[in-house]
Amino acid sequence: MSARILNRDELLRLIDEAARDRRLIGPVRRGERTFYEAADRAAELDLDGPQCVYSPKAHFFPPEETLLTFERKSRSFVTHPVRHETPTALVAVRPCEIHGIRLLDHVFGAAPADEGYLARRRATFIIALDCFRPCRDEAFCGDLGTNTAHLGFDLMIRRLSDPEEGSRGAERFELTSATEDGASLLSRAGLGRTADRADLDAVRAYERSKASAFPRRLSCEADRLPEVAQRGYTSTVWERTAARCYSCGSCNLVCPTCYCFNLRDEVSLDGKSGARVREWDGCQLREFAVVAGGHNFRAAPAERLRHRVMRKASWIAQRTGLPGCVGCGRCDRACTAKISLVEILNTLAREQDHDHAGHS
């Protein structure tokens, strides 16, 4: 299905159409900030606002969820599986977040598959919103190539006119589909028109302008990150930087590619029934690597910081072939101690350049 060109009014109608049999989740503004939250109508969403504080992962990987319930019998028990498959339209998801979702799909979909997660994901219709410039200073998606996504969504919106320049009337949005569900909604809704020559020119101008709109922030090429991180394993940057880390886990909380979790039991007051619950966990929290008996395999903040950065820059990519960090910059922004992932990576790259220069 070829691209459709919609004006703003038509775009909102399309989103409402997508949400007709689904709950609608998208950027909702609260003060200066936006959050992926439930809305009744597309008009309530802020499609032009800043990056949402949290990534949208919570809407198919909730911070806390019941995996199964159980009842205790006198000397045994029975369990009941729990499934949550609320059809959801997730709207205005940014390319970096699409890359984050693809990683979560890979991890939870790998055998043995997490059927609860997959059920939620299958019930999620994603309308992505492309970025034509960085959404914040901390972002380095342009370096990683995660500022663009070609799959992992149903529909993609590209805003061909800059909202700050063009008048509202001249606003144009290009809609393309990446799935059959997306294509079928687009044709069923029958909104907008097919792209004409002027639209195609606008698309080319959009792509040209986007190509130069993302400044380079990494001091090495993105494909060298796994190697830079590996070679930096024994660097002093971990100690130096972690000296001001509060081990609060804010970086884990906001990250689109953090998916570590804990499992625990909840029991009713009479003790006869309960639930097995999954909740988010974070590798920066002190107890994350404590084993039975009390030994902590990563007791020092420096070890935990290194663990997070190694996962993001190297290990996840090694295991999955997908980027472990999507460059959204949320962790830098969320850090109360102003610890910057980009700065750590650049420091490692710089140290290694010096080493190299010293040896040659």
Binding site: F77, V107, F261, L263, G271, A292, G293
Partner: protein, 285 residues
């Protein structure tokens, strides 16, 4: 008429859904450790490999990863040796025969017994490490013709902490196994060897390093010293198999808790070759 649309497709097995296992019998091994004999209650077989583990679930309390200490060659039951250290294990210790618990597994890679076929097998176990080692020892004894020489070195801290006494006596009286036992801190009654487990290497015959596989299971401090001994005897890095312990939660390579550098103990391990461990600085700390 039945069409494809009306056929009920079977639900995929939920990896968090435990199977029910019934406790057949239990006996104390030491002050802190008990042996539990379980049977999957739906007539199934666990179908494990030596060195694998299960997530034991006490509904309302939680899960704990426990190594299987019996060999799959021993029928429908499976055995767990459990040290009382936390909430789940304390509840386990209060179970009585006939009670049912939840079990997920078998999980992890286990030992590659096929790779050891035709080779000398040298097992070095320290402390609670004898529990997973027992699954290997019984397996080799039950399939004895498939392996060459069989040596087992076991070290416990004190005579009171020696595990599986009945098994040790039984094994010692079989010619098919050379079993050496030591304790770090002997008492007046102890008539066996004393000292750390590495001292037992002095009593081993010469082994052809190219035809020997080593199985190492014990506390982290033991690994370093045992590996030094094995390397001194020329055993290749890829034939030293170590079993590591971490805080496994999901057991299926997702939750992140048991990660050692790039690897997950629950799916890439718990058995790692020394060759791989050299790539994992966090493996023995």
């Amino acid at each position: 008429m039945t069409t494809l649309d009306t056929l009920e497709l079977p639900e995929t097995k939920d990896p968090y859904e435990p199977v029910v296992a019934r406790l057949i019998e239990t006996e104390p091994l030491t002050e802190l450790e008990r042996l539990f004999v379980f049977e999957p209650s739906d007539g199934q077989v666990l179908g494990h490999r030596p060195g694998q583990f299960v997530q034991v679930w006490i509904p309302g309390v939680g899960e704990a990863p426990i190594s299987i200490c019996s060999s799959p060659t021993r029928g429908r039951t499976f055995e767990l040796c459990v040290r009382r250290v936390g909430e789940v294990t304390s509840h386990l210790h209060r179970l009585t025969a006939g009670e049912e618990i939840g079990v997920r597994g078998p999980l992890g890679n286990g030992f590659d017994m096929t790779a050891m076929q035709g080779q000398n097998v040298l097992v070095i176990a320290g402390g609670l490490g004898l529990a997973p080692a027992r699954s290997v020892i019984e397996y080799v004894l039950d399939e004895r013709a498939r392996f060459d020489e069989f040596h087992v070195l076991y070290g416990a801290r004190s005579p009171a902490e020696v595990l599986f006494r009945h098994d040790l006596i039984r094994w010692r009286h079989r010619e098919a196994i050379n079993l050496l036992v030591t304790v770090d801190r002997p008492d007046e009654q102890w008539r066996g060897r004393s000292g750390v487990v590495t001292k037992l290497f002095a009593d081993l015959p010469r082994l052809n390093p190219e035809r020997t596989c080593a199985v190492v299971i014990g506390p982290p401090v033991m690994f370093k010293f045992v590996v030094v001994e094995l390397l001194a005897r020329g055993i290749p890095h890829d034939r030293i198999f170590c079993s590591l312990e971490r805080r496994m939660r999901c057991g299926i390579g997702k939750c992140g808790h048991c990660q050692i550098n790039a690897d997950y103990v629950c799916v890439d391990g718990p058995v790692f070759t020394y060759e791989r461990m050299r790539e994992l600085p966090e493996a023995v700390t």
